[in-house]
Subunit: 191 residues, 2 copies
């Protein structure tokens, strides 16, 4: 934890995900922590804030989420490009030291079972809303956001500040096979 | 239709959405066409390609999608920033000339019930997979992509070319209240 990490009011939490970044999903169950990358995470509701995330049946994360009933969604930055690609392409089952090899440093937040990945720009702690049909038929998981935080150097007062923050804070958006785009220029549609 | 619009193989269709752009949802039923903006659309599966989109109960689009069992998801560009904001903030019920006022020009694709919005960068024609519980409890709709097209000036050979295309082709990513970001720099994570 550092002094730049501030709570985000729950009614503004959807803004952390609204621009469609690739995220990291962290989870913990029975003493096992894991982190995976997911491009398929999306806001679902404003109040209470909810989100969807696709967790393939082959992932260890899925078992941890189903076991613990909770997870954290966080936004990696340009600085974490390699980390994101590594946790997205390596398996904890095949490589027990996956997190260390990818350079993941975890931190804990009071009252949150899953660990948080250090140096991300924002974090959304979620409680799983069990929907067995969605989970089995579509690998689709629904979470209700119970708390959110952001690094004030890039998100503060309810707004992203990508245009004035250091460029290393930009969110990353995966296409396929390790090819990403960073978020770009701010644009304003006149009312 | 113009000569730049080319089919996208279904197994590459997820790449059109993977970076989390704000999209336009078009639909048609019983002679009524509509277009709305949605930031909450997300890939759900590769093969067959599926996606999720959140359609609020108050939208006319939702009734058209439920009535017709189909819709088109398309990606507006920087040039369509105002159009996107307008179709996302005006209602067809309150303003029957909403589409004309927003500058929407529609085109038709053979075999696709919903109209396509001209000058977008990519289009995904979808068949609704009815999931009444998701639709009622979460406003969450699942579509299976039956055909996809992209403008070859920005997406070709299975890849986005934002970094070399004219900047007006960039995708737009809504945060809140008419504040968007364009997609930015290409980044490659080494294997």
């Amino acid at each position: 934890m550092n002094e730049h990490i501030l709570p985000v009011p729950l009614e503004k939490a959807y803004r952390l995900l609204n621009h469609g970044p690739t995220v990291l999903v962290s989870s913990s169950h029975a003493g096992v922590d894991n982190v995976m990358a997911a491009a398929w995470a999306c806001a679902l509701d404003f109040a209470p804030p909810r989100l969807t995330v696709v967790l393939d049946n082959s992932t260890r994360t899925r078992a941890l989420v189903e076991g613990s009933g909770s997870f954290v969604i966080q936004l990696p930055t340009v600085r974490q490009l390699r980390l994101t690609h590594e946790v997205g392409s390596r398996s904890l089952d095949a490589e027990p030291d996956k997190l260390a090899r990818a350079g993941v440093v975890l931190m804990r937040m009071e009252g949150v079972a899953a660990p948080l990945v250090q140096d991300c720009s924002a974090w959304l702690a979620c409680r799983l809303l069990p929907e067995p049909h969605n989970q089995q038929a579509y690998d689709l998981f629904i979470g209700e956001v119970t708390a959110a935080w952001a690094d004030a150097r890039v998100f503060r007062d309810g707004h992203w500040h990508f245009e004035t923050a250091d460029p290393s804070w930009r969110s990353i958006h995966h296409i396929a096979g390790g090819n990403f785009y960073a978020i770009g220029e701010a644009l304003r549609a006149a009312d």
